[in-house]
Structure formats: C-alpha cells, structure tokens
C-alpha cells in the first residue's frame, strides 16, 4: 500500500522533530536542533533494514518517491515566499555581511571536504577500520 511508505516517512519526520525539539530544550534554546537531519537518518536506517521492508518497497516505496519527486516544486514554492523585498531593502551593511559570509563559506568547501578523506595510499591503509 502506497500510504505505508508515506506513513513511514511521516513517522520519521515526527520522531525527528520531537527529538530535535527536546534536544533544543535540553540545551536551553528555543530551536529545533537537527530534527530534519535526525528524521533523515531514521529513514535511511529504516529503508536499509529488513524489518521495515514492507513499508519501504514496492507500492509503499512509490509513496516516498512521490514526495521526493515533489521536492523541487516545493523548493520553488519556498523560493516564491522568501522575504526578498526585505533583503533588498536591508541596506549596504546587510548586503555586504550576507555576501561576504557566503563567499568565505564557498571557499571553505574544498578545504573542509579534505578532512577524513584519504588522499594517499599510506593514509588509506592507516585509516582503514
């Protein structure tokens, strides 16, 4: 049944959100700490385990894949409701701060990507578990 996959996905998100909110409360902040990330991990674990096979294969898988395919349209709808007018009217300081943060972060992507990635053969044998 298609709904089984949708329900599995929904359950993962609800549990993840609950854990993320509890994590935030435990840290004393009013924010969800990684709820979506935790939900994704749960879905990865569930879809790789034999126990949840009925919920993540066949017709049930189509229920999850449908939402996955709806991702880009949903992102377009998300873009269409950003407060672009406020960003544009924030003045030079906001513009420079935002742009500078993005440029520096872009530049760091290749640097940090190297962490934990074996570059040479000797490192590879050394890091093998």
């Amino acid at each position: 049944m298609l709904i089984y996959g949708v329900a599995l996905l929904a359950t993962c998100l609800v549990i993840g959100m609950l854990v993320g909110q509890a994590l935030g409360a435990a840290l004393g902040i009013d924010a969800n700490v990684g709820g979506v990330g935790i939900a994704m991990l749960l879905l990865v674990i569930a879809s790789n385990s034999a126990r949840f096979k009925d919920l993540s294969s066949g017709a049930a898988a189509q229920g999850i894949q449908f939402w996955s395919a709806m991702y880009i349209p949903i992102v377009v709808a998300m873009a269409a409701q950003q407060n672009v007018a406020a960003a544009a009217s924030g003045g030079l300081l906001a513009l420079v701060a935002g742009v500078a943060a993005v440029v520096v972060s872009f530049l760091l992507v290749p640097v940090i990507s190297k962490i934990g990635r074996p570059k040479t053969k000797t490192q590879q044998s050394g890091e093998a578990p």
Binding site: L9, A10, L13, G20, L27, I29, A31, G34, G35, V36, G37, A39, M40, L41, L43, V44, S47, W67, S68, M70, Y71, I72, P73, I74, V75, V76, A77, M78, A79, A80, Q81, Q82, N83, V84, A85, A86, A87, G90, L92, L93, A94, V96, A97, G98, V99, A100, A101, V102, V104, S105, F106, L108, V109, P110, I112, S113, K114, I115, G116, R117
Partner: protein, 253 residues
C-alpha cells in the same frame, strides 16, 4: 465574477499552488532548453523566477511572505512552507546508503561548527568595518550572517534593538538568496559533485532554504547529503550565538 474566482481560489489554495508551480516549472524547463540549450538547469531558472515573484509580491503587498501574501496565491505559502518542505527534504534521504554518511561524518561535523563560526566572524567583521563598536550590535549582525533565524534569536537573547534585529534578518536573507542562486554557478569550482562535499557544503552554508534550493538547482542527487548537515546548523548557531560568540565579542569591545 471576481468574487466567484476569488472564493474558488481561496478555498482551493493548495491545489491552485500545485497548478501555478507546475506551470512555472514547465515554463522554466522550456526556457532552459530553448534559451540556454540545457546549460542552465530548469530548476535553477524556476527558483530564480520564484525569487523574482517573491520580490514583486513583497513590494506589492508590503508583507513578509513574498508571493504567498497575494490572496489568490496564498496556497504557495502552504506548499513551500516549513511543513511540506521538511517532509520533502526527508523523503530525499530514501535510497541513501548509511556508508556514504559515515564516510563524511567527521568532515560534516567540523563543517557545521566551522560554518557557524566563520559566518559569524565575517558578519561581525563587516559590522566593525561599518563603524559599530557596541558588542551587542556586532554580535547580532554577526549572528544574522549565520542565518536569518540565528540573528533574531541571538539579538533577542542579548537585548539588541529592533533595528539591529531587522538588519540581522536582512543579512541572513541576503545569504540565503545568494546561496540559492550562486550554488549552481560555483559548484564545479568548489568540487561540489559528490556526497561528501555536499555534506560539507550543507554544514558550511547552513541556511536550510538556501542549501535546499542551491543543491536542487545543481544536482538533486546531492540534496539529502547537504540537507542532513544543514538542519543542524541553525540549532548550533542559536546555541553558540548568545553564549560563546557573544562572550568572544565582548572580550574585544
């Protein structure tokens, strides 16, 4: 007649949104195909059109939710809102292998902390360069450069003025929009073409909407990896902003 259309559109707002977004995507893919011969991703054009529409919606209505503040298009607010966005993001994790995540685990964690600190320092540095000397103002603007959620959360926690908080939100919005548009343009030159670098990218940028849209326009296969780390970023930012980072700034000013 107008009343009739309006009542049907409002009562079926989400369905209207599906139709409008569907037409937008069709048009964008057509443009990508005919005008750029497929060099620019159709979804990148669609996201850019969405942002343009949001700017138009914001200036016409004076609201904060872009095109969703236009009565007839209110359903876009639901379709692109937090609930369905998170639901769709999580669904992209279907089919991801655990081993890929483990491989980039350490780099992912490092990238989240480095991303928050670096964006904060850059934002705070810009505030100082613009002549601010008040640690509360510097911290709030720095936090805004982290994300537009971390800015106000930090600002309110340390007692910043409303004007500072607005500035920090604007800085965060600039960041988020720039990540949406800029990612497909720089993806190749920063090596953003595999799950590991996508996880690092998500951790460094952190703005969930920026990362979600930026990766969608670059390569949808990378979305789950970037989104996974990005969703921890705002939480870490809210944690560090009013505490460690504020104390750090206070040491110097």
């Amino acid at each position: 007649m107008i009343d009739l259309i309006e009542s049907v559109f409002i009562r079926n707002s989400l369905v209207v949104a599906f139709a409008v977004i569907g037409v937008t995507l069709w048009f964008s893919y057509l443009l990508a195909d005919k005008l750029t011969a497929g060099r620019v991703h159709g979804s990148a054009i669609a996201i850019a059109l969405g942002l343009l529409a949001a700017y138009w919606g914001g200036t016409v209505t004076g609201g904060t939710k872009g095109v969703a503040d236009i009565t007839l298009l209110g359903g876009i607010g639901l379709m692109g809102g937090g609930m369905l966005r998170d639901f769709a993001i999580v669904s992209t994790a279907f089919g991801v292998r655990l081993s890929e995540l483990k491989k980039a685990g350490l780099a992912g964690v490092v990238s989240i902390i480095a991303g928050v600190v670096v964006s904060f320092v850059v934002g705070a540095g810009v505030a100082i360069a613009f002549g601010y000397t008040d640690p509360i103002a510097i911290t709030t603007i720095g936090a805004g450069a982290v994300t537009y959620i971390v800015g106000p959360v930090t600002g309110e926690a340390i007692g910043a003025s409303g004007e500072m908080i607005t500035l920090s939100v604007a800085a965060g919005l600039v960041k988020s929009i720039l990540v949406m548009i800029g990612t497909p343009l720089v993806a190749r030159s920063i090596g953003l073409d595999n799950p590991q670098s996508a996880m690092v990218f998500g951790g460094l940028m952190g703005t969930t909407s920026g990362v979600a849209a930026g990766l969608a326009a670059t390569d949808p296969k990378l979305v789950p990896y970037g989104a996974m780390t990005a969703t921890f970023y705002t939480g870490v930012g809210c944690l560090l902003g009013p505490s460690v980072l504020f104390f750090g700034v206070s040491l110097f000013f």
